[in-house]
């Protein structure tokens, strides 16, 4: 049984040997490369145009507004460009909000780090099956509606809610932390903890377990092994997780609104207030621009630290 029994394949193409078939030339090679490049460009074109129209242009408008002037009736005068709204960032009220957002974000990051580290370590040291199950149960809250998860805390921390009932039962009196900074931080930790767990897990899981044993073998105590072996090796995960928690915490809006009581606790809420109630669009635009710059910087650090590979 051989394949020569079946009909031979068709010639080199339509027209077969009769067609004018050309030798390769550098021009042909270049034309083929150009055609390929054009195909790529055409494929990208719909998304390209869409993003230019509905992302790049809106972004340009924000930049223009940030240097525009607010007129007396709450409208915006787009003509006279100046840096007044950026100068206002130094005013005490704005500065206070900036600093408060900053320390809330830092504190949230630290709490997440302290909680997530042993947790991630625990997951990373399980058998692969257990590990995957545990990860799935981290992914579920990670992907669950953020608004609803914040709202759940509003219910729990409310004046008649379970939290107050528990503290009363424990003899601590009816504790109410709703609409305080503590509640905001609690909500942020709840919202962003998975952001810390997943990169930490990925970093710790990658460490060769025998290095830890080697540390113990060389007479290091548990704490020393942690400080001198585990922590340095998991540093990329620590950095990535910290940025992933810090960045959205800084720009948080929904959490401070729901758990912070709608006061201008944090930058995100303050920006929204500028647009919806205070009608100072240039100030809001310049704050948005500053917020985005901070995020871009943090993201660049994240990618520099190899975040893409985490």
């Amino acid at each position: 049984m051989t394949l020569t029994a079946v009909p031979p394949p068709s010639g080199p193409g339509p027209g077969g040997a009769g067609a004018a078939l050309l030798e390769a030339t550098p021009e042909f090679e270049r034309a083929a490369a150009r055609a390929d490049s054009r195909r790529g460009f055409l494929l990208s074109l719909p998304a390209y145009v869409y993003l230019l129209l509905f992302f790049a242009i809106p972004f340009g408008i924000v930049v223009i507004y940030s240097v525009a002037t607010r007129n007396t009736i709450g409208g915006t005068d787009l003509a006279g460009w100046n840096l007044d709204s950026y100068r206002r960032l130094a005013e005490p009220i704005v500065r206070d909000i900036l600093f408060r957002s900053l320390w809330i974000a830092v504190l949230t990051t630290l709490i997440c780090l302290v909680v997530a580290y042993p947790f991630s370590y625990f997951i990373a040291t399980r058998t692969p099956t257990v590990r995957n199950i545990m990860l799935v149960f981290v992914m579920i809250p990670f992907w669950t509606n953020f608004l609803v998860r914040n709202y759940a805390w509003r219910v729990i921390l409310g004046s008649d809610g379970p939290f107050a009932a528990v503290t009363e039962a424990l003899g601590l009196g009816r504790q109410e932390i709703l609409f305080t900074h503590s509640a905001v931080i609690l909500g942020l930790v709840y919202g962003f903890l998975p952001f810390m767990v997943l990169p930490l897990y990925a970093a710790i899981e990658r460490i060769d377990g025998s290095l830890i044993e080697a540390g113990r073998d060389l007479y290091a105590s548990g704490a020393q092994t942690f400080r001198r072996v585990l922590l340095p090796l998991s540093m990329p995960g620590v950095l990535a997780g910290s940025i992933l928690v810090f960045v959205p915490s800084l720009g948080a809006y929904v959490t401070p609104q729901i758990l912070g009581g709608g006061k201008s606790t944090m930058l995100g809420s303050y920006i929204v207030v500028q647009f919806l109630t205070a009608r100072n669009w240039p100030l809001g635009a310049s704050l948005s621009f500053v917020l985005m710059t901070v995020m871009l910087t943090a993201t660049l650090i994240y990618f520099r630290a190899g975040g893409r590979n985490l």
Partner: protein
């Protein structure tokens, strides 16, 4: 890689597993409590008063909630379809071709992921208000924000997320498969149709589920892109929460919760969660949770 390194039975081992259980309790207790209270026959949102379905009945009878639910579903479906098409094309262009302007496009595609929600929201507000003003000035059109503007803004961020997920899949795919198809008499289209597409289908499905989730969850951008008449369910509920909590909100929340958990489980099933792959997705999913 890591083996168990804390000695079983040691204090460290106990402390570690204790922490793990506490963290899971922290993750799930609020969700469980919320579900419980949504069935509680008590006007107070956080107190147990026997079982009732009346809050769910109220939800069904609430025409504004029903309207906004429909807006949510329509926006989510439409923005997902469009962003899946545009995002997949963009991913193909970036992973399989070299073209002029590629780096600018790559950067532009990343920005909607990185940019803070609030900034994106402000961008949409200013863009649509300027756009509407210009449309009125030049063409005498009387436009308002609503379904269309919400959908436009959701597509603007969803394209990027879809393309990130599809790109990850494409870059993990053996390019020789496409060459093999060409070698076996497929033209470019058929090579895509019969080889590339089936190979990246899980990525496209994952991207679509991600887009659906993000669209259904979004509050901040939608709030700024929607008009007084028409808005999505989360924005409407957000407004209700700010006016004061009621057991009705518990019930609506549980419905949204159920929808998003269903989507998570679907996407975990399509993505075949593997240790180590979890992280990648993370880079892409940086924003959107950051309301």
């Amino acid at each position: 890689m890591m083996g168990a390194t804390a000695r079983p039975g040691s204090v460290t081992a106990w402390a570690l597993s204790g922490t793990a259980w506490l963290v899971y309790a922290f993750f799930y207790a609020p969700i469980v409590l919320l579900v419980l209270f949504s069935f509680s026959d008590d006007r107070n949102v956080g107190r147990w008063g026997g079982v009732t379905l009346s809050w769910y009945e109220q939800f069904i009878d609430h025409s504004q909630l029903q309207n906004s639910l429909w807006v949510s579903i329509r926006v989510a479906l439409l923005s997902t379809v469009i962003s899946v098409v545009l995002g997949t094309l963009a991913a193909l262009a970036l992973e399989r071709f070299r073209f002029r302007g590629q780096r600018v496009f790559d950067a532009l595609l990343y920005l909607p992921i990185i940019i803070p929600d609030v900034t994106m929201a402000v961008m949409m507000l200013l863009f649509f208000s300027e756009g509407i003003r210009i449309a009125e000035l030049l063409f005498g059109l009387d436009l308002t924000k609503g379904f269309t503007t919400i959908t436009i803004s959701h597509i603007a961020f969803n394209i990027s997320f879809v393309s990130v997920v599809v790109r990850a899949r494409l870059s993990g795919m053996n390019e020789q498969l496409e060459e093999a198809a060409l070698d076996l008499y497929a033209n470019r289209w058929r090579s895509f149709r019969y080889v590339t597409l089936p190979q990246i289908a899980p990525g496209i499905a994952g991207g679509a589920l991600l887009a659906l989730t993000l669209s259904l969850d979004d509050v901040v951008v939608t709030q700024f892109a929607s008009g007084p008449g028409s808005t999505t369910l989360p924005v409407f509920v957000f407004g209700m929460i700010r006016r004061g909590v009621t057991p009705l909100i518990n019930a609506v929340s549980v419905i949204m919760l159920a929808a998003s958990i269903a989507l998570v489980i679907l996407s975990l099933a399509t993505q075949r969660l593997r240790a180590g792959e979890t992280g990648w997705s993370l880079g892409g999913r940086l924003r959107r949770r950051s309301d």
